[in-house]
């Protein structure tokens, strides 16, 4: 497979805090093909950001990649130094961060900030840089780029700022774009435009996108494939269709069921009881077991392996084990829905 852009193997990342070791990522394997949009979803604190940041080695100093490999464009960057990474960042991988209000430097004009990124690829003069910058802004849907280059980030709205960060990420023409919850802070209307923009980019220029969100609506709209994370592990991954219409991990099922959907009229939502585990003390076995009303004894003891359901669909849960009782494998809740 020579068009694999990103290949992550058994990645484990821990933060060493005074209180102990936070196992933020616990053995995640994932690979992205060229032009593909993969969405990682899962609730807060399940390690999505940690995963993204370890791809570009932007983890804090007390974070340690404990095992695993990251291969970007055929190069294993696991052992790369800070200097080596400078060549990878921007050129190979671009990243859009969570909060558009803080990711732009408030005291530099956006022209300057764009130019910094543009300079990675060209040694063009100031005028040419400006032209390219205007082009980029237009690409992300900001008109009258010429006048706006001199403006400060504060003079833009949140949505515009988010698009500017996207433009900056795209400026050095990376093959892979990592977008870590790019839309959480935005209005629904702006969010929609962002998503469509990304989708167009992937389609038209073959950009590979790894998008992180916990909004399943976003995932449904944009993704080719969706991965669900829970407590530092990828618990289920499959095409969008597979995940949304045939979720297999009890957590995925619970998540989908908990969405307030327009169809439901009665006042109660179906919720998953309990809280996600504290990553300081990750329990043995399936981390979700304690919230799963149909958890089996083995869930509390042994980590489930991945069970493949199709070429693209895998899930790590004992419910898929042939030994599991019938009621667990086909929970009635799901049946009723279909």
């Amino acid at each position: 497979m020579n068009n694999t852009v990103l290949d992550i193997q058994h990645l484990a990342v821990s933060f060493y805090l005074p209180q102990g070791e936070v196992k933020a990522v616990r053995g995640v394997s994932l690979s992205l093909e060229e032009g593909e949009i993969v969405v990682l979803a899962g609730e807060s604190g399940c390690g999505k950001s940690a995963l993204c940041r370890s791809i570009v080695k932007l983890l804090p100093r007390y974070a340690v990649v404990k095992s695993g490999h990251i291969v970007i464009g055929g190069h294993d960057i696991t052992q790369y130094t800070e200097k080596d990474m400078q060549a990878v960042r921007g050129l190979e991988v671009g990243m859009v961060f969570q909060n558009p209000l803080t990711t732009l430097n408030p005291v530099l004009s956006i022209g300057t900030q764009l130019a910094e990124a543009l300079k990675r690829r060209t040694s063009a003069g100031a005028r040419e840089l400006n032209e390219q910058a205007v082009g980029l802004l237009e690409q992300v849907g900001i008109q009258q780029g010429k006048e706006r280059l001199a403006m400060m980030p504060a003079e833009f709205s949140g949505g515009q700022r988010q698009r500017i960060t996207l433009a900056i990420a795209l400026a050095s023409q990376p093959r892979l774009l990592i977008a870590d919850e790019p839309t959480t802070a935005l209005d629904v209307t702006v969010q929609l435009r962002m998503i469509d923009l990304l989708r167009n980019l992937a389609k038209n220029s073959g950009l590979t996108v790894l998008l992180v969100t916990h909004d399943l609506g976003v995932a449904a709209r944009i993704a080719d494939r969706v991965g669900i994370m829970y407590a530092g592990k990828l618990v289920e991954i499959g095409t969008t269709e597979e995940i949304f219409s045939d979720p297999r991990h009890p957590y995925t099922q619970g998540l989908l069921a908990a969405l307030p959907s327009a169809a439901r009229v009665h006042k109660r939502l179906r919720s998953i009881p309990g809280m996600p585990p504290d990553m300081l003390h990750v329990p043995a076995g399936d981390a979700f077991a304690n919230r799963n009303p149909r958890a089996m004894a083995i869930d509390y003891e042994e980590e489930p392996p991945f069970f493949s359901l199709s070429r693209t669909h895998r899930a790590a849960t004992w419910t898929l084990d042939p030994r599991a009782p019938e009621e667990v494998r086909c929970p009635d809740g799901r049946k009723k829905d279909e």
């Binding site: 932007l58 803080t102 990711t103 005291v107 990675r120 400060m152 504060a154």
Partner: protein, 336 residues
């Protein structure tokens, strides 16, 4: 561009009001201090004067009037450019000051510039090596040096570099009679400036360091890293730009601290400057000189404050969104 007349006018008003308040405070404080200003003029002879003589002398210097009247007379006279006589030197106060201003300015400005350059350099080093040996080393040495009494350091330096090694002069502002010789002046301020650096750099470096550390925790640093920029470059071209308003307001406060610092240094190095003069005139109740020194320093400090405020407001529009003046917003970390 629109000229902000209103803002300029307001600043000028604030400036003069502050000066008026300042002069009032010092005038009243000084006149209620015990001790007889006449003594600096007549020497111990004051004690031998008859009552009539004494009253005549007081009348001559206007000391028999109520303090507030004296103050207004003083204001009136100073508005006409007449700053009164120095009772101690028996010369017009302005002439006494005149001889000292240049020296202090030279020492002050050189120290000021070097202090802030070094503070920024030290702060950047600390930030680049945060939590590692260089940061720890700089922090610890900085703290020690900051707490060392400046006079003590100065004397040790004199002992080493002047007395024992004989490399540098240890007193005065220039070789006798060489007032116009900048080489000689420069040579003479080396040790004082080093003492100023030792006792001041860390104070500011620490503030800037903390502000910079806060900046490095901001998300735009990540974005800059994602552009492939190096750490030094990020600190210099991104973080430093963000703390610039802080640095400016710190620099405004710094004017006062550094002026205060020169007092001690001038005393140690027998450097003929305003600091020495101020200490002397306060000790000997030479009000006219004291007032002039205080007003002069006050004017510089207040003007610097206002300037810094204007500059930071320019640099950073966000500062405008909060009330108060520039210096109320810098969180000093070490008290002074």
């Amino acid at each position: 561009m629109k000229v902000p007349y209103k803002a300029i006018g307001k600043n000028i008003a604030v400036f003069f009001i502050s000066l008026a308040v300042l002069s009032g405070v010092v005038f009243f404080a000084a006149s209620y201090a015990p001790g007889d200003p006449l003594q600096s003029y007549y020497g111990d002879a004051v004690d031998q004067m008859s009552t009539a003589q004494y009253e005549a002398a007081r009348h001559r210097w206007g000391l028999d009037q109520p303090v507030y009247k004296q103050y207004f007379q003083w204001v009136d006279r100073s508005l006409h450019g007449e700053m009164g006589m120095s009772l101690k030197y028996r010369e017009p106060a302005s002439r006494v000051i005149h001889d000292f201003v240049g020296n202090t300015l030279f020492l002050g400005i050189v120290s000021y510039i070097l202090i802030f350059i070094s503070a920024i350099v030290v702060a950047v080093c600390c930030v680049l090596y945060e939590g590692r040996w260089l940061d720890t080393l700089l922090s610890e040495t900085g703290t020690i040096l900051f707490y060392l009494p400046a006079f003590w350091v100065g004397l040790l330096l004199i002992l080493i570099f002047n007395v024992n090694l004989g490399w540098l002069p240890g007193s005065g502002a220039y070789d006798p009679g060489e007032a116009g010789n900048w080489g000689s002046r420069a040579e003479h301020i080396v040790l004082p400036v080093i003492v100023m650096l030792i006792s001041h750099v860390w104070y500011y470096a620490y503030m800037i360091r903390n502000k910079l550390l806060d900046e490095t925790r901001k998300d735009y640093v990540l974005l800059a890293k994602m552009k492939g920029l190096g750490r030094l470059k990020i600190v210099l071209s991104h973080c430093l730009r963000n703390v610039a308003p802080t640095i400016f307001s710190v620099m405004a406060i710094g004017v006062n601290h550094i002026v205060g610092g020169t007092y001690v240094v001038e005393a140690v190095f027998a450097y003929p400057g305003l600091g020495n003069l101020a200490v002397e005139s306060a000790k000997y109740h030479d009000y006219n000189v004291l007032m002039l020194v205080v007003l002069l320093t006050g004017a510089v400090v207040i003007a610097a404050g206002l300037a810094a405020q204007a500059v930071s407001a320019r640099l950073d529009k966000r500062m405008k969104t909060e009330g108060g003046t520039a210096w109320t917003k810098t969180n000093g970390h070490l008290p002074s």
